[in-house]
Subunit: 207 residues, 2 copies
């Protein structure tokens, strides 16, 4: 099986290097991207939707031009094991999902996906070999249309220094940045240090 | 300049391959990850925070083990150009941010960051060369502590087939999946097709 530009072995190596492990969901993700890409015309630019943040976004990021940072990948928190690739102008595309009904022929995949076994009870090698044997036979495909503007990342707009932390932030967020409005994830922040190549000076600013 | 495991040239190539372009923000991102990593002890596992979804998450994904799919990277929509790497158990870490005050010495970077010039007015080569020349001299660093549990991805919990679309979803989301509850991004969905290796049969399910 070829997975986009990679042989299966190359894809598994890429997975380990990028994702940190050979997650079963990412091997399925490879087959999902393959199926979507071979269904779509070759000469267009596609944006991607991933309907779960678990594992699957990394298959899209490895195998398509769509990443979180470039904004061509939208991750939705539906917990459905599904991806969509769609024409970034017309919104027309294909959605590929893991089809529960088809999983029954692959009992180790079924019990993994529906969490019927604890991790130590799982037979990892059997799971991987059933996934690789199944390829796209556990997937189904739908033709879909999205409204591309609704998913396109909004422009950041004018920016200014936040009067509280002094860092640059998007003015649309209000009179101060969202972190200073109370959404900061930091319990403690020590005064910043001026970093220079050869020496650190005491900081002049706290956020 | 070495950027983690890469030479500068290799990093720029990786950027183009993964992100699709040599975004100025990602070159700064390389220096940010470098500065964070050299400040932190070597023998720990770090999770990452990125305070903007624009560009910067891709530097983290390329240069650290943290990705969206493996859950070690949390992207916050603060619009601040900052990253944090923190010990995934203690929450202790460092935050590196682009320091507006230090940017004034690098006028092309300053005017790019504060959007003082339109794209055609920018001198892209000068911008890139000022960023590369500045390295970490436009950055500042803070020592921070986060509560790791508050950022750790929640376990998905029990799953079941959604009574509306028939796909597997997390039961915690309610009586049906979030897409069927009205959050679907799809304007149109055509009945799914059963995909097999050699033939497509008419679908038996619509979502």
């Amino acid at each position: 099986m070829k997975i986009e530009a990679y042989s299966q072995e190359e894809y598994l190596e890429q997975l380990k290097a990028f994702h940190g492990s050979m997650a079963p969901g990412l091997i399925i993700g490879g087959a999902m991207v393959n199926l979507a890409m071979k269904t779509l015309p070759k000469d267009k630019l596609y944006d991607a939707i991933c309907e779960t943040p678990l594992c699957l976004p990394d298959a899209i990021q490895l195998l398509t031009p769509c990443t979180i940072g470039n904004g061509w990948l939208t991750v939705l928190n539906f917990g459905r094991f599904a991806i969509t690739l769609y024409d970034k102008y017309s919104g027309v595309g294909v959605r590929v999902y893991l089809d529960s009904a088809k999983l029954k022929k692959y009992p180790e995949v079924y019990s993994w996906y529906f969490k019927l076994k604890s991790k130590p009870e799982q037979d990892f090698q059997l799971l991987i070999s059933q996934i690789m044997g199944a390829e796209e036979q556990i997937l189904s495909l739908q033709h879909v249309r999205v409204q591309p503007e609704s998913l396109r990342r909004k422009k950041i707009g004018p920016v200014a220094d936040c009067p509280e932390c002094g860092e640059c932030y998007p003015v649309r967020d209000g009179l101060s940045c969202k972190a200073c409005q109370g959404e900061s994830p930091y319990l403690e922040v020590e005064a910043s240090e001026m970093m220079n190549k050869n020496h650190n000076l005491a900081g002049d600013k706290a956020a």
